[in-house]
Symmetry: none
Subunit: 367 residues, 2 copies
Amino acid sequence: MMTKKQTLPLDQVLVGDCIELMNSLPEKSVDLIFADPPYNLQLGGDLLRPNNTKVDAVDDHWDQFDSFRHYDEFSRDWLNAARRILKDTGAIWVIGSYHNIYRVGTVMQDIGYWVLNDIVWRKTNPMPNFRGKRFCNAHETLLWCSKNAEQKAITFNYEAMKQLNEGLQMRSDWLLPICSGGERLKDDKGKKVHPTQKPEALLQRVLMATTRQGDVVLDPFFGTGTTGAAARRLGRHFIGLEREEDYAKAARERIAKVQMLDGDSLELTESKRSLPRIPFGAVIERGLLAPGEKIYDNRGNVAALVRADGSIAHKDAAGSIHQVGAQVQGAPACNGWTYWHYKCDGRLVSIDNLRSQLRKELGQVSA
Amino acid sequence: MMTKKQTLPLDQVLVGDCIELMNSLPEKSVDLIFADPPYNLQLGGDLLRPNNTKVDAVDDHWDQFDSFRHYDEFSRDWLNAARRILKDTGAIWVIGSYHNIYRVGTVMQDIGYWVLNDIVWRKTNPMPNFRGKRFCNAHETLLWCSKNAEQKAITFNYEAMKQLNEGLQMRSDWLLPICSGGERLKDDKGKKVHPTQKPEALLQRVLMATTRQGDVVLDPFFGTGTTGAAARRLGRHFIGLEREEDYAKAARERIAKVQMLDGDSLELTESKRSLPRIPFGAVIERGLLAPGEKIYDNRGNVAALVRADGSIAHKDAAGSIHQVGAQVQGAPACNGWTYWHYKCDGRLVSIDNLRSQLRKELGQVSA
DNA sequence: TTGCCGGCTGAATCTTACC
DNA sequence: CGGTAAGATTCAGCCGGCA
């Protein structure tokens, strides 16, 4: 893995066509791709534009495609190139609005990507609909996809997201302001450098949720480098691809100023799944429970006998704490650690406490 | 216009294939179409809740398709039939989830529909993600489209929508509960009649926004008739198409009981506003505090490290501002917002001030 | 009558480590 | 690689039972 990383142009902005540049990179080499492709706003010429007010509309030449067909071809090409360089354990995010996201989503599904969630970025401060002819277009959509449907190991920092949402699991609708104020890059004359600069908070949430420290994040439409800024701040590597030298230059200068957070503040709330596995037998071996003792369900109604080999017995049934727990309840499955309790000063205490205790002891020795 | 209306099967539920039924209706004869087509969910095995009960999944035969290609063909067929019967001044709504909405959106654009807005229905009470492997899938998407791009006269009751949103322009994200409680149709045994009954409030908003009194609203996937119930209540005509006689029967009985409104009592259906809940993580994401900073108790004796995921760490303890606050004090609970302070010009200031600040910025946008 | 508590449920593409 | 067993995992709202 290190050798692969060493051949990658880490923490750099490469100028050129993103498809050619991606094709020049080794296959299966990046952990995450974040893409903010052109939005195809000018479909069919000026008459058909969905919003023909003159509010600094997006009319740069890179945003022009003469038909849905061309846009679909373009999407298929860059999404295929992206898929090649993605690790088999990797994932991709694509952001868009109703002008392009339905095209993009269909192409992604067609070439084998598997949708994990679609996420709605709700803007606290969207541009109003000036004519009063439509609903205020107050959101954009992100697609989070794995490389294929069979893929199991996806990085998803569930507990960290739950923390961020004050103890409730994070939903698919995110409320964040648009990029403005000091964060928005301006040139000497105070004109914005890029028409669609994304807020860094959005990228931070994406990277916090679906990458780990040291991961490689590639952005094929780098623009002024919000992905790079967020990656650097969070201790991830980035690779930025951008066709326009002016944007690339602005991005490099911007990212150089970013203060990287230190390791402690990047520590994520850990999931139980990442903790070392403790067999119930270890609890017996260490003498936290003795063979011959009884363990009970949470009300003390059901009692099972603890045996020396770490199995337990209840009436005819014998086996692991999980198997017997399931059988006793007539349930298809059971987490024995939370189902069973032992008596301590007359009160029932979860055996999961014994596991925690053991983990603490082991941590000081091995880890 | 009256002659045309007289040939239409107004305020009826027709049983049969929706494409054939639509083809039997006169062209350019309906004002609005609302469609809730099959979502083409692709479920694996059973899903168990943490308490080992089984989730009652949508596994009905009508939701099964062999492939995306078959689903696309199906979509193209019914959307073309719908387009023929739509008046040139008419519009269409289609609702879906990430499983199908990207397919539907692409087909709609391909056959000439023009997207006016995409609308996000944010559920106040979605089903959680039981396994902790994804973001909670808390929304569905609606596409609002005109028959073609050139179409000028679209019914959009801008002022009514603005009223409904307390004087502010209605946004593209709508917060509404799912259909449950007394509104949910149940059979004798208390089993739900239809697996995916939509809330009437959603349909009311759609019809309030994009139809006038006396308009004809057609629903090709009528199910248990939420569109019909909302139409009748609001003084619009409906035409319901439904393949299953059982659903059609339930719909007829339901609609017959609906009281038609003559006044302006609709506002009652709109949810009340309460103070938006602000997770501590939002304070970090928005940059009001930076990861790596320290927060203190009111005397500055206890210091905790702020981490990027919105958790804080103090000695061995890590968790939410509330959890760590409680642990530090040896208390069973703690309001972290009032316990913790940050340093500002050498003085200690409550982090609750940051929450107030954020609430002010959010203003009328319900979090 | 009111309030509290436990149980049930909703369009869901929902596991992973070890042998 | 496949098979097997361990074991991690939920939020809001409605309803009924009971104090």
